[in-house]
């Protein structure tokens, strides 16, 4: 995939540390990625892999202290978001970057009507009058497939079901026509049939509106169905990145390979026994000097302990453009 257009979002070497009484937790370690206009990037990882913290860091949503963004650049439309004053950043959030969180119950304010909550960014960021905002809010609700949109503006979050609430969240995130939509596990709290509705909706909206999307999930199945490119995170780092079909067909990192095998298939051959990744995810205290996966890796050798592997391309394209992996071992060259 040659890059035709300038990326809308370009993250370089992002580092985030949490200061705790027990020392520093290196939650995000030199994470780099970019997003082209209209592209859907899937981010996969387990809890604690740093996927949510990465996204929260880039738009300054983490409370500091304990969080501290230690370095890196986040370029959105040519500006480095990490260098913006809080007020300037606030203008970016909501207007340029929309965010959809996992739990639609706790991310909506229960004491305001949903109309009120959709209108807020419109009035704040777009300078609309109340009247204009109300019209636009009704349009947005209709856009995300809520029937009887104008009437529903007066309803409160508790009057909606989980799936409907997530639709409202999406409407708020899309209110100001953002260039980038970040969806953090948007369907994890929902049932599968409702998840299917939301995925269908996001696909449709993306076609209609053309924004770039980052979709964070731990569900490889969801990723397979929606993403153009996938970034796999482990222990606060990007361990592998590739176009979606390439990643599933030709996984390189031992973690990705193991992860794909631990998920039982719905239709394919039924394994007599599930493949297991032994051990536990790492605790990210101390600076990352070794490979975070080494303790659970079947291919670990001395070098993995001594040196944290850098991302390297496996297809000749620049890192981040094609298929890259951060691992000393590779399936072709078996050493160690």
């Amino acid at each position: 995939m040659p890059d035709g257009a300038e990326p809308v979002l370009d993250v370089r070497g992002l580092k985030t540390v949490f200061k705790t009484r027990g020392g520093e937790i290196h939650a995000v370690n030199s994470v780099s990625f970019h997003l082209r206009p209209g592209e859907m990037l899937g981010v996969v990882g387990e809890s604690g892999s740093g996927k949510s913290v990465t996204m929260m860091s880039l738009i300054g949503l983490l409370p500091s202290p304990p969080a501290e963004v230690r370095g890196g650049e986040v370029l959105l439309g040519g500006r480095d978001l990490l260098k913006l004053a809080p007020r300037e950043l606030q203008a970016v959030r909501g207007a340029k970057v929309g965010f959809v969180f996992q739990d639609p119950m706790t991310s909506l304010n229960p004491v305001f009507s949903v109309g009120n909550q959709i209108m807020e960014p419109l009035i704040k960021h777009m300078g609309m009058t109340k009247r204009q905002a109300e019209d636009r809010a009704a349009e947005l609700l209709a856009l995300v497939g809520i029937p009887d949109a104008r009437k529903r503006l007066k309803s409160y979050p508790h009057q909606f079901s989980g799936g409907m609430r997530q639709r409202v969240m999406i409407a708020i995130a899309l209110a100001c026509d953002p260039d980038v939509l970040i969806a953090d596990e948007p369907t994890t709290a929902l049932d599968v049939t409702i998840q299917a509705q939301i995925i269908e909706l996001v696909k449709e909206l993306r076609q209609k509106l053309g924004m770039a999307i980052v979709w964070i999930t731990h569900d490889l199945g969801v990723i397979a169905g929606i993403a153009d490119r996938v970034m796999v995170m482990y222990g606060g780092q990007v361990v592998e990145q590739a176009p979606v079909r390439e990643l599933f067909a030709n996984p390189q990192h031992p973690y990705t390979r193991a992860l794909l095998k631990t998920v039982p298939s719905l239709t394919g051959e039924r394994a007599a026994r599930l493949e297991v990744i032994q051990g536990q995810p790492p605790i990210l205290s101390g600076a990352p000097v070794a490979c975070p996966f080494r303790a659970r890796c079947a291919h670990a050798h001395d070098r993995c302990e001594a040196e944290n592997p850098q991302r390297r391309a496996i297809d000749g394209l620049p890192v981040g453009q094609g298929h890259d992996v951060a691992c000393h071992w590779s399936p072709e060259v078996r050493h160690g």
Binding site: E46, S47, S161, G163, M164, D191, V192, T193, I194, Q195, A196, Q197, I199, E200, H218, D219, L220, G221, V222, I223, A224, G225, V244, R245, F248, A258, L259, L260, T262, V263, P264, S265, L266, T267, G268, R270, A271, R273, L274, E275, V276, I277, Q278, Q280, P281
Partner: protein
């Protein structure tokens, strides 16, 4: 574990549920008068064979966990029979029920909430022994160690507290506790839902090993259809308090018969981009109706893509439509009447009626 295809004609049912109902009353007004009931489980019947795993799947609020709890009489069922090992649990007096408890146990969803944070691991695993045996301390300790070995917990951790363990290890503690009294039947209520993908496989493999070694019978409640396909021999699909379909695992996943089972399976994303690109999804419209006020007739009639006039009027019975396959749907009756057309073929014309309200 049984070979999935055959429902084990030779084996006897260990658990036999007939017409189980669990209604939770709704009280309202100043006088707290009963104004209705949430029909969480509304007439459910099934058998679980000795040594088998029955998967119970469905979406949140369908009543699957309530079935599990009512089975072990953690709730007092409103109506119905639950025969486990020859005795009707639903009607046993308290003393007899207590003597019966050791043979039926439960593993809960949230290992954080189901372990007392002030008790050590040894005390948690040993508590059933305190309650149901008169063993001395040495014998109990020996048993606790044996259980920790069985579930893959290091004995050295016996005096630690639950917060010192990870989610997967905590679930192992919960499993060890369930095994303490040598049960024959275990209800696993979403035992892996709170765990990370890489840890889920560890726990599922452990449950399978224990089943092989100890001849356990499981009711495996889950919303993860891929995992249920892996672990279960037969699968019951629940919708709004009732069983829509109960079939052997391979038959269900290869060719679901109930329209809800079909929609549910088609909605599960598969970790294969090539397959996902070509897959036809049945997207259900709307939400699940309230169990306090289920629709008349078939409870799926408000969302069914193949709904017919009869569905809004008459409640379909769960009937055996093929050997070992039970389906509650009026389409099945039509199929048998009109020869064996593949379900869904001649009913496409109803497709547009799935809209709610």
């Amino acid at each position: 574990m049984a070979d999935g295809g055959s429902p084990g004609a030779l084996r006897k049912p260990l658990v036999s549920v007939r017409g189980l109902k669990m209604h939770f009353p709704i009280y309202a007004g100043i006088l707290r008068r009963k104004v209705g009931a949430v029909k969480a489980v509304d007439g459910v019947s099934f058998d679980i064979l000795e040594g088998e795993t029955l998967g119970l799947v469905g979406e949140s609020g369908c009543g699957k966990s309530t079935v599990g709890r009512a089975l072990l009489r953690l709730y007092e069922p409103t109506a119905g029979q639950v025969v486990i090992g020859g005795e009707d649990i639903a009607s046993l007096p308290p003393d007899a029920l207590r003597r019966k408890r050791p043979m039926m146990q439960m593993v809960f969803q949230d290992p954080q909430a189901s372990l007392n944070p002030r008790m050590t691991v040894a005390a948690i695993i040993g508590e059933p022994l305190d309650e149901h045996t008169d063993w001395d301390e040495d014998k109990k300790t020996a048993r606790v160690y044996e259980l920790m070995d069985q579930v893959g917990l290091n004995r050295r951790f016996a005096n630690r507290y639950p917060h010192e363990f990870s989610g997967g290890q905590r679930q192992r503690i919960g499993i060890a506790r369930a095994l303490a009294l040598n049960p024959r039947f275990i209800v696993c209520d979403e035992p892996i839902a709170a765990l990370d993908v890489s840890i889920q496989a560890q726990v599922v493999n452990l449950l399978e090993d224990l089943q092989d070694r100890l001849g356990l019978t499981y009711l495996f409640i889950s919303h993860d259809l891929s995992m249920v396909r892996h672990i279960a021999d037969r699968v019951a699909v629940m919708y709004l308090g009732q069983i829509a379909e109960l079939s052997p695992r391979e038959a269900l996943y290869a060719r679901p018969l109930h329209p809800y089972a079909r929609a549910l399976l088609s909605a599960v994303p598969e970790a294969d981009p090539t397959l996902e690109a070509t897959r036809q999804r049945i997207i259900l419209k709307g939400d699940v109706p309230s169990p306090a006020n289920p629709p008349k007739g078939c409870n799926f009639c408000t969302r069914c893509p193949q709904v017919m006039a009869v569905c809004r009027d008459v409640e379909p019975e769960l009937a055996e439509v093929e050997p070992g396959r039970f389906v509650a749907c009026h389409l099945m009756a039509m199929d048998t009447a009109g020869g064996h057309a593949s379900p869904g073929a001649e009913v496409r014309e109803h497709n547009q009626q799935g809209e709610v309200k």
